[in-house]
Amino acid sequence: MKTPISYFVVLSAMLFSIGTVGVLVRKNALVIFMSVELQLNAVNLALVAFSRLHGNLNGQVLAFFSMVVAAAEVVVGLAIIVNVYRRMHTANVDDASLLRW
């Protein structure tokens, strides 16, 4: 493989930053959640790249676990969004401000 590992790490950093900006800028709860998924995937890419750099499979196993945790997190998160929507009839995070002082 001729591509330096740092290229993948930088790509992963860019995707993670785009995800961060998405979480901070967007108002729709679903799109915010998708941006979180993007961040998780960016970190997975970095883990797999480091696994390649160090020549062992620990990074890939960790990426595998992070995928499983992401799947569980998506299930619970979407259930919460559906519940909020049922109660408030909105998926906009600004409208769910009951706990705001």
Partner: protein
Amino acid sequence: MAPDQIVFWVFAPVSVGSAVAMLFQRNAIHAALFLIVNFFTLAVFYLVLGAPFLFAVQIIVYAGAIMVLFLFVIMLLGVDREESLVERLRGQRPLAIVLGLGMAVEIFVTARASLGLARGPADFDQTVNVGGNAQALSRVLFRAYFLPFEVTSILLIVAAIAAMVLAQRRERTTAEAAHEAEAA
């Protein structure tokens, strides 16, 4: 140019472009579709990095299961709602973009300084992926990471039960029904 470099330079712009496009979509469905494109490009990178098992898992679990779940919930909540552009916090958007760029630059400098142009072992497939990636990965997973693997199964069961409990439509108790009738 080696094949993996060609693959990288073809798919990296697609990956970043689809992520940025996801950010700018007003419609949640379009955002989800761009995210699926992004997940596919990440799967290709896993293949280049010598992780064909994660390539398959990425497509099956992320591009398949998770995104179908997302699209299902978008359908459930209605797709035609436009996002309001009212800012509750003044200056949040520019600040978010500046901070995001700052983080990207920070990680870029760190990666540049610490990794340089290191490439890792060239014979990764012969020395690490012995007998195939799935076999090698399962050897690591079921020996060194056996306990975390079992704990993960508990996590999945808890998540499934939590989703069922959360998604359940709460039945109104008779007291609540009486209260509502009184109010009406």
